[in-house]
């Protein structure tokens, strides 16, 4: 299924080197003011060629809105956003069209469908996430009007980790460096590390953290569509993601219940809050009004600039050679994708929650 969401529902299409990619957003409420400059700026955060630590491929990724917006606001009808692919025609793929690149989707798509668009990974390319960023930008505009904000940033690149709690960070610094880590010192170490990896024609993984502020109590649905279950699915559906944890996550395993439980208290304004937030803002699958906090693990990019052993679709042993340009570490460009998908999840649950009470 190339759709996601129950009320705020997106459907993406397009292959890496086909004519275009895009997204249709169904179920966005009418009356959302559409700031096209903002939407384009979100795509610019994801596009290749931004810095020395991302792929040097240049793509403009210009987004065009074809429907659903009239006189600057959404009309309640589907919003179609289109991004043309440039220069998708000419290249010669003869050498790779039958090869299965290690840890890519070449083999699985070929077997599943009996046919595949081998140009640049086709549908399995991370290029598809540009469409998600466009849709997510609209979700962000909607959420902003409700006082909700999704902020992601890099906390690990290879072995280089940011150890601080998010409350100690200044999110205003995220965009101030090319790796999108809000701590300048750690960012510098990450950049140095990634640049070394790049020179080594290799790749490395990373972690993107995300904090969602302003979420009201009551989003998320029992029992399968728990808020963090949908967030988890959304993150795990992003290319290269291999892990997801919310709140205390894997580290919470060795804690005791008496430490891990988040005591409720009433603040001076009469609001019910918790003194700690190991729950990550979600209890029983439903938001509790505290910050939602989760982490997403990205594996090293499969495209490396080295020769690798593999087989082709006829079962012959082949050498897959690495050439051209690549992303040594995907997390700097993944930041807007994580934000986009989380905004889509929250927007959907915000709308679903409208029918909780008679």
């Amino acid at each position: 299924m190339n759709s996601f969401g129950h009320i705020f529902r997106i459907t993406t299409f397009g292959e890496s080197h086909g004519k275009a990619i895009g997204v249709t957003i169904d179920g966005c409420p009418a009356g959302v003011e559409v700031d096209e400059t903002f939407i384009q700026s979100e795509l610019d955060r994801r596009k290749p060629g931004q810095s020395k630590i991302t792929t040097q491929r240049k793509e403009a990724d210009h987004v065009e809105i074809l429907s659903g917006v009239f006189e600057g606001v959404t009309t309640g009808t589907p919003i179609m956003m289109l991004i043309w692919n440039k220069d998708q025609k000419s290249k010669d793929y003869g050498h790779i069209k039958d090869q299965f690149r290690p840890s890519h989707a070449d083999y699985t798509y070929q077997e599943k469908y009996g046919v595949r668009d081998y140009r640049g990974g086709g549908r399995s390319s991370a290029r598809e996430t540009a469409a998600r960023v466009a849709a997510g930008a609209l979700a962000k505009l909607f959420l902003k009007s409700k006082g909700i904000e999704c902020t992601a940033y890099v906390t690990q690149a290879g072995p280089v980790k940011l150890e601080k709690h998010y409350s100690e960070l200044d999110f205003g610094n995220i965009e101030s460096n090319i790796v999108r880590c809000p701590d300048a010192e750690v960012a510098e170490a990450m950049i140095t590390y990634i640049d070394g990896i790049r020179k080594d024609r290799d790749t490395v993984g990373g972690v993107v953290d995300c904090v969602i502020k302003g979420v009201p109590v009551g989003l998320g649905e029992p029992v399968f569509d728990r808020l963090h279950a949908e967030l988890g699915k959304a993150m795990l559906s992003i290319n290269a993601v291999k892990g997801f944890e919310i709140g205390s996550g894997f580290d919470g395993v060795s804690m005791r219940g008496s430490e891990h439980n988040d005591p409720f208290y009433k603040d001076e304004d009469g609001n019910i809050k918790t003194t700690s937030n190991y729950s990550g803002g979600v209890q029983g699958g439903i938001s509790n009004g505290q910050d939602i906090y989760f982490r997403t693990a990205f594996k090293p990019v499969a495209t490396i600039m080295k020769d690798q052993d593999s087989v082709d679709k006829f079962g012959n042993e082949v050498t897959v050679s690495g050439k051209g340009r690549h992303d040594p570490c995907v997390v700097p460009r993944a930041v807007p994708i994580v934000e986009a998908m989380s905004a889509i999840v929250i927007a959907d649950f915000w709308l679903r929650a409208k029918s909780n009470k008679a």
Copy 2:
């Protein structure tokens, strides 16, 4: 939404202390032989009161099939499985009906719906997972006929970890001890640890690993319904789960692409395989024919036998007192739940894959 799955679709209902809980399974193919003894035995693996390290509450959890099975086989129509709750009537809940227990769903349900069944956690109770185990048992029976098997086991309880790779383990040992860890020595350490926690009237978290063998190439759908995204959602929808990782997971982050990529080769029977499996059996969101391998993190159970500070629904400060019986560590009983949900995911994708090719 209390439903899960696209073709093989389950819908659960029921509150912890209501009249009954149960599940309707829609989309199960006709002709599956229904071994009711097996289904009951799966419920017995989940039921409370099994050993000294689980809650001492006794529930028989007898499952009854009310529809969809005729002369021992499924008919293609919905299969309804019912589990009556015992002794749900008498108890006095006066002392807790307005209290919000820390890290439970009392507060979030109350705010979301304006009303809640406070008896034993109502719908948010892990009792709901008994219905999933019943449905999962049916999915297992279906998958078994296709040569697919889902096996889960405990690899961590609090700080006690099983460090071995799954290929070094004998899955035949899983049911030989009460903690469901296939390594006897580590199991013993886990049991000792959990029993200490229990005596301390506290709780602790744990990790359940799962290996799925026999999955053909081609299960999973682009781009949102990736196989591991649905598995992740399924796991994160289980009570107390805070993390999910597939294959290399969070550890893969610091690996290089040249290490992490799984090289393809052709075995002597002409089958395409990979020499390593950091992908965890899924590439591009689609099964590649290797073992599917994932891990699920459970937080410490929120119900502890200690007094805790909290507030009630009127905003008064209250002490939530711990009494009665509790599970000091949920993972031994979570093993069949993880297996059940993974079987449901795989069964659904198996059926979805039938329409891949014209």
Copy 3:
């Protein structure tokens, strides 16, 4: 799929002669007051054995609510309603188990699934509609609190027609006769006609009209989920229904646009209304605030008390013999089913419309 609805979503299960039938209602808002007496009374309107013109089979159809209701109100969690089948065990089906009764679903189920529960039609029996009536009763209770009411009644039984416009009828008379036609004189003619058919061991079709009052402007979704498209699907999913029309329906075909268009005007209270209602209360697939009006055609019941030629599953020519009890005309008992399904459709759209505007 045995589910219907997008937010207010019902899932039914059960075979005619299995252990039980029932329905799970997901997405009903919390806080709806549940009048169990009313729900039972709706089932009583549908049950067999009510009068000489319905089947003489006696079934109590007692409904039991197993979840989702606490202290008399809905809690936002799934509401499970169960109806046990009585005396489902003993009977001998040897003579019909391999036969394909004409215009029943015996043949199609057998071919589709390779197996079928042949007892009383199994899943294809109209007995399944009892579960819909239970769910519809809850939808009615919800709608009543919003000022919306669905009223169905019989306008044709065989060739006997009620020719009056609904505005000329007193809906208070519907339950005053056994055929559920609000015009006493026509009702009498229908009863006489049906009774003759019954004595002739035959059956006949009929038409049920339905009027929904109090629907606000704005229910229904572009473009596939038009209000009347969902109503049509809901009606056509009822056993024996072969036709559906809204507003002017098939008769509107020969009208001119200048006659058929419904002119808008503003009434003395400032409300926008239409002077005619050929649209049947729906324009562009969305309710316009006028009465919703539609008609549903039921074919003659396939079970007749006469011998019929057919084949069995081995391809042998057989005589299907008619014995036992039957409904000579289904429409009197179909009235509460039509109301139930329309209430479910409207409840679902009412909830969906809550997210129209930002």
Copy 4:
């Protein structure tokens, strides 16, 4: 929801006078040969300006495939088809932007969303059906490879009716006249009638019949997704449709069961067939292998070339003036739309039926 279908799932977007309209088809199996000339020819059958009895507006409706097709075949990934709108910019809508045209969707959209694209009816325009025809053409190509064919034709235009049974007609004649009625004589009468209506600046309704041949036994799902219930929804979701009937439909109401039941027999090749087909090829909601036969009623087009009384959005009384070009009768252009939607329904059920048996 702007999506339709469960496995073969289409999502349309676009407004009448926006930049473009289009459709994304998800779930089409890989390996379908895509004959773009055929797809375009289907759009040409729907396009305006074909003859004197359709609107004189000229639109090329050129369809472009942007994804999901590679080297002439489908790849299993979403197929996006785009149709640019021409000349959508310049026109002055000042006079109608606040008016509610009678029996159009102006009022309902305005109230539902609080905002609307008033240009040419926006999303509610029948222009959206061009996207359905494109998707339906692909469904037809898929079905053709399975030996299934959907054929629609006009049987009534205003009061002029074709009374013959479909078995007496030569479908090869359908495209031989501009009204798409396979009987030359009746076609002539229809054309004369419609041309008179056109000269009178008025409109009239009509009926489109459809026959689907080659459908195997077993398509359609219990109990809500009956084959004819989905067909009915599909038809009722087409602009201007007010009625749907399958097989005997409304006429079957006055038949007796003993006449209406379709007796089974075994033909000389050992196939089970029925001697009559009042069921219209569907029994118990599932195809029985006979021809599927249904009828769809279209109301007169709401756009007439006459002045009409109405109100505007401020509640003022206004005169809506008819000018420009219009379709005097929609059914000739509706023929390919009915075929398209029926092909989409059958393709979806064909794929769904693949998981009936274990």
